[in-house]
């Protein structure tokens, strides 16, 4: 029903306003956010895949390393191609698949950071666009969960490999939190704007309908 309300505002039941209506709209926005956010996540993953491929070929250390990197990148590419294909065919993915794929992204970045020396690895910057994409697609609670996992994972990796640079580590972690917070805040503001827009539009349609009623 909620989806119908958004696609065709004139199809909604009149007089259903108030707090309950707002809660219902908020639920709808949250469900839609994931659907609209999926292309963003898939695009970010493509950027990560292409960059990883270029960087792997750019700076080859050994054949074995390159082979391993290529296999990992191709696996990620195949998975992302599947997700992209589903989106192109307008078949919405189940939320659990999206969440699992995003968790794999975080795990992949963390593994790469760990194998590249932890604190000294420059790969950690991939966390930032990844978290930004999650923040605009996931509900606030899940964004908080994913950000906390990243903070813990990367914090532990860094403390184990760059203990002398706590100041830099803190600023990096703070920026990861900043990106997550900004994405999530933007999402909340957009919910508010859409709710207000929906209410304005409904009031407008109600007024038109009332004006069309001919006197008896």
């Amino acid at each position: 029903m909620s989806q119908t309300v958004i696609d065709h505002p004139e199809g909604k039941e009149p007089g259903e306003g108030g707090l309950l209506r707002r809660v219902s709209l908020a639920d709808t926005w949250e469900k839609e956010d994931l659907a609209y956010g999926q292309p963003v996540i898939v695009t970010v993953r493509w950027i990560m895949i292409v960059s990883a491929l270029i960087l792997a070929i750019w700076n080859v250390d050994s054949m074995a390393d390159l082979r391993l990197q290529i296999i990992a990148i191709l696996l990620l590419a195949v998975t992302n191609f599947y997700l992209q294909a589903q989106l192109l065919m307008k078949r919405p993915l189940s939320s659990s698949i999206v969440y699992a794929a995003s968790a794999v992204d975080i795990a992949m970045i963390s593994i790469l950071v760990l194998f590249q020396g932890g604190y000294s690895s420059s790969i950690y910057v991939f966390y930032l666009p990844a978290i930004a994409a999650f923040a605009v697609a996931f509900p606030r609670g899940l964004t908080l969960l994913y950000t906390t996992i990243v903070i813990l994972l990367y914090g532990l990796i860094c403390l184990g490999t760059g203990y002398d640079h706590t100041d830099v580590i803190v600023s990096r972690l703070l920026m990861i939190v900043a990106v997550a917070y900004c994405g999530s805040l933007y999402l909340q503001l957009e919910h508010r704007r859409r709710t207000e827009a929906q209410e304005r539009e409904e009031a407008f349609i109600d007024n038109i309908s009332a004006a069309r009623v001919e006197p008896a």
């Binding site: 960059s51 420059s122 957009e190």
Partner: protein, 200 residues
């Protein structure tokens, strides 16, 4: 119903609602800078340089945040100028903060939330220009203050990763801004085609 909301109205609302994201992004950067200034300074001179760079940002953000709370938000031009100032201050810190400079400075990470917040608030074209401006600024400062990295392919790779991810962060903002605008327009004009919805 198509004329119910004009593009100008939408842009004004984007600025009105979205500037809170920019304000919070700046607060995060200010907090991180302050922590670093207090933590890394070993002499009085270093701390003074740090504070001189940070205090104007704090003062400006208080002003903008205060106005927002009083429901007198900053206008488009002021926000653009502040966005340029943010990028400039971060670049100055990368160039002049005591210790590692240019490519070897770790302060480039402050660009990410600033670029993301800017892209959430302003139309795509302006955000793309801003992102390119930041990329050029950062590349220039790296070349000017640490030109030796150009001889080392590993360091060039390091710079490339940073530039790619900064650009990707800006792109996420631009992409999502368009998605949100299209969702709002669908409420007001459900009969419009996707191409019409995407129109600026």
């Amino acid at each position: 119903m198509k004329g119910l909301r004009t593009t100008e109205q939408e842009a004004s609302e984007d600025i009105f609602f979205g500037q809170l994201v920019i304000i919070y992004a700046r607060w995060f950067v200010v907090i991180a800078m302050t922590i670093l200034a207090l933590w890394t300074s070993t002499t009085l001179n270093q701390m003074v340089i740090g504070i001189v760079l940070i205090v104007p940002l704090i003062a400006l953000n208080f002003f903008v945040h205060g106005r927002y709370l009083m429901e007198k938000p900053a206008n488009r031009l002021l926000l653009i100028m502040l966005g340029i100032l943010d990028a400039t201050v971060i670049t100055l810190i990368i160039a002049f903060w005591p210790g590692a400079k240019g490519l070897y400075s770790q302060f480039y990470v402050f660009y990410y939330p600033i670029i993301l917040a800017f892209a959430f608030v302003f139309p795509g074209r302006l955000s793309i220009i801003y992102t390119i401006f930041v990329l050029l600024l950062y590349s220039a400062i790296c070349v000017l203050f640490s030109p030796e990295f150009l001889a080392d392919m590993t360091e060039v790779e390091r710079l490339s990763i940073r530039l790619i991810t900064i650009a990707a962060t800006g792109m996420i903002g631009v992409y999502y801004y368009r998605i949100q605008r299209s969702r709002r327009r669908r409420i007001y004009a459900p009969d419009l085609t996707p191409a019409e919805l995407a129109e600026v």
